[in-house]
């Protein structure tokens, strides 16, 4: 707990340093009275620029608040030995344009050398400047990529919309806006999720792999649960004996249908649609699909308008699916989406 405290001596020392010469202004934008620092460069920066420095990654610049963070002794030493003036001089003498965006200005061999120089200064070692034959500071531009930054896409995507702009642009209180926003968000996240599904498991995300997780509870509890609590309606059963499994009861089915629909779609419907398309039309499959729909309609006598719509769709499609496999497939997807929205409601029906 004690490490939440900021040592008052350190803070006093930093505030003193910040009042000396060029330290009085943010090294990047010149804003007065900077309260933040990047100890790696031994420089003082303002709050706005601190935000930008944090986005560069901790291997380039690591941001501390001079009033709210505890500096390590070596970090304080870097601030003492460094300062805004020596860094500015270093950039100038190496032809680095001071008005360059931070992403370019601090992520290049010259900036890297300065950190090494400052380390040497702090550790009383002699700094030997290296040659960078393949590096030409004058070619750095606001949009250029430095050799040190590996992936071009990342640099640009780390820039974002300023928070203030979007605040005024989003009507937070209008319910219309909120609903629209909600739908937009859900569509957006669904899309992202889909994209992620198609990525390979074995690569780290930075190389195009899948974003994955794990924990104490399975990452996909709904499917697992439906398989565990309703043994009669597992996907294996469903595939082996679709009618038998379905006729075991509406209650079970309705609770599991939304949860396993995606899988059913993947494992049962899709292959069948493909079969229909490929012309190897099995009479039994067709019959099963038609009855599947029928069963659906019978049980919808629970009286929910929504569901009879649903089954009409379903039945209609099942019947003409032999001629139009393609449309059936898209129709199923639509139903699937609808069902997702109703997922919560479906759960309630169980209690009914």
């Amino acid at each position: 707990m004690s490490d939440w405290k900021v040592d008052p001596d350190t803070r006093r020392r930093l505030l003193q340093l910040q009042k000396i010469g060029a330290n009085k202004k943010c090294i990047d934008c010149g804003a007065p009275n900077p309260q933040w620092a990047t100890p790696k460069f031994g420089a003082f920066i303002c709050l706005e620029c601190a935000g930008i420095h944090r986005g560069l990654g901790v291997h380039i610049s690591f941001v501390r608040s001079i009033t709210m963070d505890q500096f390590k002794p070596e970090e304080l030493l870097r601030m003492e030995k460094g300062g805004n003036e020596p860094l500015t001089e270093w950039f100038k003498s190496h032809n680095i344009d001071l008005s360059l965006p931070q992403k370019v200005k601090y992520d290049n061999p010259v900036a890297e050398d300065y950190k090494e120089k400052l380390t040497c200064l702090c550790e009383d070692r002699v700094f030997e400047e290296r040659e960078h034959l393949d590096f030409d500071a004058s070619k750095l531009s606001a949009t250029s990529q430095t050799p040190a930054s590996a992936t071009p896409g990342v640099a640009q995507s780390r820039e974002g919309t300023p928070l203030e702009n979007r605040r005024s642009a989003t009507p937070a209180n209008s319910s219309n806006g909120a609903n629209f926003q909600k739908e937009k968000n859900e569509a957006y996240f669904a899309e992202l999720g889909k994209k992620n599904q198609s990525r390979p498991d074995h690569l780290p995300p930075s190389q195009g792999g899948k974003y994955q997780g794990f924990g104490s509870t399975p990452a996909k509890p709904p499917q697992e649960r439906s398989a565990g609590s309703s043994n009669t309606l597992s996907l294996e059963n469903f595939q082996a004996d679709p009618l038998g499994t379905l006729s075991r009861g509406w209650g079970l089915f309705s609770s599991a249908v939304t949860k396993s629909f995606e899988d059913v779609n993947e494992t049962v419907i899709k292959p069948h649609v493909q079969q229909w398309q490929s012309g190897e039309l099995s009479e039994e499959t067709k019959r099963a699909a038609a009855q599947f729909g029928q069963k659906f309609q019978e049980t919808s006598s629970y009286g929910f308008q929504a569901f009879s719509n649903f089954t009409k769709n379903f039945n209609g499609n099942a019947e003409d699916s032999s001629t139009a496999g393609n449309t059936t497939h898209t129709e199923y997807q639509k139903i699937d989406n609808n069902d997702k929205k109703n997922e919560q409601d479906e759960d309630k029906w169980d209690d009914f």
């Binding site: 995507s157 974002g160 996240f189 794990f214 924990g215 409601d345």
Partner: protein, 183 residues
């Protein structure tokens, strides 16, 4: 159709309870970026959070009040002012910040000892996966000693708030757990 039904059922069963979710983590881990990624689906340019940001968002028929608290060393003690009635904690870790993994671990376990958070689910985002050299979710999990957690639903998900990746996967898990355990 979905909207009509959900509002009908919400009236009948009152499932529109507001849930409090905290986003915590060391400074610069990406808490604010994740909050606004969730709320507006965009990347915002953030500044270090002094105090907190709070936004309400609806996700899968739940109304979430998401609090993003500043992570600077000396304002971390104030996290506990927000612990009461918290359904879940989202703990964000900068997966590239290897030097401060132990600090993150210490803060995490200290926080989880708090009485008021005993029933809260824990979602950890191993964030900044877009950066080369980021530790994987399992490496971060090891650094944070997550397997030591007992009697708590937890999950760790690799994410990139900047690219919007992994966030959905994590939130889906969290919402399912909350529905199962707390509603």
């Amino acid at each position: 159709m979905g909207n009509i039904f959900s509002s009908m059922f919400d009236k009948l069963w009152g499932s529109n309870k507001e849930l409090r979710i905290l986003i915590l983590g060391l400074d610069g881990a990406g808490k604010t970026t994740i909050l606004y990624r969730l709320q507006i689906g965009e990347v915002v340019t953030t500044k270090p959070t002094i105090g907190f940001n709070v936004e309400t968002l609806s996700y899968k028929n739940l109304k979430l009040n998401v609090w993003d608290l500043g992570g600077q060393t000396s304002i971390r003690p104030y996290w506990r002012c927000y612990y009461a009635d918290t359904a879940a904690v989202i703990f964000v870790v900068d997966s590239t910040d290897k030097d401060r993994m132990s600090t993150a671990s210490k803060e995490l376990h200290l926080m989880l000892q708090e009485e008021e958070l005993q029933d809260a689910a824990l979602l950890v985002f191993a964030n900044k996966q877009d950066q080369p050299g980021a530790l994987s979710a399992s490496e971060v999990s090891k650094e944070l000693n997550l397997v030591e957690l007992k009697d708590r639903s937890w999950s760790i998900v690799a994410s990139s708030a900047i690219k919007g990746e992994g966030i959905t996967e994590g939130l889906d898990w969290l919402v399912d757990v909350i529905k199962e355990e707390q509603l």
